[in-house]
């Protein structure tokens, strides 16, 4: 009686297994070997020879970052891992990437329990992770804060962050220059996740820079850094604004969706400026075949630099290019505009999304 069901079972399991194998074969995402533009690889190239890079005492670094749910965040983690790998004296302990502050707090608690030498932390929410970072500092662990700042300056020994306000300013100034003299210019903005302070800073910078040349943001929508979100937001925006002169999109990863929506709507009366600086976008700027003609860089190598700073701090070394004998408390990165003219210079450190 049980023979038939059993055979059916076997059949079902067998076909599932075959199907799984077939599907597994299709998961390969390895690109054709081409130009090495990987963010991780390229960072080692620029490293100094000798001096600070001489192996020292082994440093155990705990690393925690939000979930890699968009290209930039994925690049952050990838670059950090590659950077840690390039040092024989760095042992990296990586925590599960999460957008749940509760879980991220417990990861830092685990690092404290484990007695790591340093923690490189890109918090999902700077304010929420401040207390546990203070705890780590009190336990004598070097905390390096990346990108999203803590509430309390004492919660980190060193902070490395991008310039979100500056990003908005760079994008705004570029658009001002391009639209110089044009009366009633219509400028739209597609922001990232609106609840993040970084988005608010970018928008503020953008509005301030545009204000200098007398332009106001005519339409503003917010997406969520994902391709899907970018597509939805842009499609709605294009419906709402029948005529535009320029669009600033905060994030190149969601920009893939934004461009898809623009193409679907068949619009090309405006030009677009991106943000973050993905390799895709830079190649497209180089090729000059879409409305996208510039992007503002938000370095995806911050966490990699955080790993370097943590290593230097634990090994009591200085930043060799500064006269100062201690690693600075705060390093803010610059947000340059990439156009067709200077794209060559930035393409090597761009991230693949």
């Amino acid at each position: 009686m049980s023979a038939l069901p059993r055979r059916r079972w076997l059949l079902a399991v067998g076909s599932l297994a075959v199907g799984a194998l077939a599907i597994a074969g299709c998961t390969s995402n390895t690109p054709e070997p081409s130009t090495p533009t990987d963010a991780g690889d390229s960072t080692d190239g620029g490293g100094l020879i000798g001096g600070n890079d001489e192996p020292g005492d082994t440093v155990t670094i705990g690393f925690s970052a939000p979930a890699a749910d968009h290209g930039w965040m994925g690049a952050i983690t990838k670059a950090a891992l590659a950077e840690a790998d390039s040092f024989s004296d760095v042992e990296l302990v990586q925590a599960e990437a999460t957008n749940d502050v509760n879980l991220q707090i417990s990861q830092i608690e685990q690092f404290i329990n484990d007695g790591v030498d340093a923690i490189v932390l890109l918090p999902f929410d700077g304010a929420a992770l401040t207390e546990v970072a203070l705890e780590a500092m009190r336990a004598g662990i070097v905390v390096v804060n990346v990108d999203r700042e803590f509430d309390d300056p004492n919660a980190a020994r060193a902070t490395i962050l991008g310039d979100n306000y500056g990003m908005g300013v760079s994008a705004g100034r570029y658009i001002c220059e391009r639209l110089a003299g044009k009366a009633d210019a219509k400028v739209a903005e597609i922001a990232g996740i609106d609840s993040l302070p970084l988005t608010q800073d970018r928008s503020q910078g953008f509005a301030d820079a545009l204000g200098e040349c007398g332009i106001e943001v005519a339409n503003r929508v917010a997406a969520d850094f994902t391709v899907q979100g970018g597509e939805t937001a842009a499609a709605n925006l294009l419906q709402a604004a029948p005529q535009l002169d320029a669009i600033w999109n905060h994030d190149d990863d969601q920009g893939v969706g934004v461009l898809a929506a623009i193409e679907a709507a068949g619009r090309d009366e405006f030009f677009m400026v991106g943000g973050a600086g993905s390799a895709n976008v830079m190649r497209s700027i180089q090729a000059d075949d879409t409305v996208l003609e510039a992007t503002v860089i938000y370095p995806s190598t911050q966490a990699a630099d955080g790993i370097r700073l943590a290593r230097l701090l634990v090994q009591d070394k200085a930043l060799s290019d500064l006269v100062e004998v201690e690693v600075p408390r705060k390093i803010q990165l610059y947000a340059p505009v990439v156009t067709k003219d200077n794209v060559e210079q930035y393409l090597p450190t761009a991230f693949e999304s």
């Binding site: 929420a128 992770l129 509430d151």
Partner: protein, 351 residues
């Protein structure tokens, strides 16, 4: 207030309705007990297995008091949500809004206005705000489900979206840092060496257990989940009862909001994102039937501990992020299969 007048409802041994239905009356009790023990045994085996992996791979680092407290602190918020979820699911419902309601409660309780009143009066104002907001949102769910006849999945899905949106509006999408010293001292403090959050989880779990297993309210919950029509005929006011269950789940979300404020010192509209799914997973892995009629608080607590211990072991072993996610999915399925298998076996032995 009063015992149900019809004996069938009053006589149900609380969480074991289906077992009792199938069996002869005389054998029902021992069989039911063995079933419960069997189900929990599966969970204990799973938890012990994870702990063994933790000890083997992490040694001292895993098996330390500090690490244990880290696991429990992480478990506490999800645990409280899951207790409320257990009641709703036992009664055959579902609540997808608890994560959003937690976020809303944490935001509402940490607005500048609430904090100002709390400074002037007492930090208990913040707690009361969060609990009221949670219960209020739960009541709305309950009214929609019980009296509006909206399917629970849809009613709470709507609340999930609306509560998150309202939280964003109130917080203006910013993070609200809590500066009320008394509140932080209390919820970030210890009581005889054990963090307050863990105490809250323990108290909620014990109260939940008593409520489900030792009171008329609990028996009614099981009866409604087993067969709502029979429960109604047995004299239970099913609608009012269902409404109160969603309010209860909202209350636990409010408590979760307070705990989140204590843990992160900040109210944010992103707090508790996707917690509803973690809570449902923990409840179901724990052995509560998704179709209702059987619920177990002990199982839920185990379910929560399995997930959080797992996360802890993963972090300890420095596994790659994506491998962790895959492993988590596999382990959920294995845990459920294992638990079902053992439950079946113990039932077979009993007959």
């Amino acid at each position: 207030m009063s015992e149900p007048t019809v004996p069938t409802a009053a006589g149900l041994p609380a969480p074991e309705l289906p077992a009792e239905r199938e069996g002869a009356a005389t054998r029902a009790r021992p069989r039911a007990l063995r079933g419960a023990a069997g189900r929990n045994l599966g969970l204990v085996v799973a938890l012990v297995a994870i702990c063994v992996v933790g000890v083997v791979t992490g040694g001292e680092r895993f098996a330390s008091v500090d690490n244990l407290l880290t696991i429990l602190r992480l478990a506490s918020i999800l645990g409280v949500l899951s207790i409320g979820m257990t009641f709703v699911i036992t009664a055959g419902g579902i609540d997808l809004s608890v994560g959003s309601v937690l976020g809303l409660a944490s935001v509402w309780a940490s607005t500048l206005a609430t904090q100002a009143i709390a400074e002037d009066f007492h930090w208990i104002v913040m707690v009361a705000t969060a609990l009221l907001v949670g219960t209020g949102a739960g009541l709305v769910n309950g009214v929609l489900v019980a009296y509006g006849r909206v399917v629970p999945f849809i009613a709470t899905l709507a609340m999930m979206a609306a509560a998150r949106g309202l939280a964003e509006m109130i917080a203006n999408r910013r993070t609200q840092v809590v500066n009320v010293r008394g509140f932080l001292d209390f919820f970030r403090g210890d009581l005889i060496g054990i963090p307050m959050l863990i105490w809250i989880f323990a108290v909620v779990a014990v109260v939940g257990w008593v409520l489900l297993n030792r009171t008329t309210y609990g028996r009614r919950t099981v009866a409604v989940g087993g067969n709502a029509e029979a429960a109604r005929l047995a004299g239970i006011n099913v609608r009012r009862h269902v409404m109160s269950l969603y309010a209860l789940a909202g209350l636990t979300a409010g408590i979760g909001g307070v705990m989140m404020l204590g843990r992160t010192t900040a109210g944010s509209s992103t707090n508790g994102t996707l917690y509803e799914l973690d809570a449902i997973a923990a409840v179901v892995v724990g052995g509560t039937l998704l179709i209702g009629g059987r619920g177990t608080i002990v199982g839920t607590v185990f379910g929560v501990l399995i997930f959080t211990t797992l996360t802890n072991v993963f972090t300890q072993n420095n596994l790659s992020i994506s491998a962790q996610a895959v492993a988590k999915g596999v382990i959920i399925v294995v845990a459920v299969l294992l638990q079902q298998r053992i439950a079946e076996r113990s039932r077979a032995v009993a007959t």
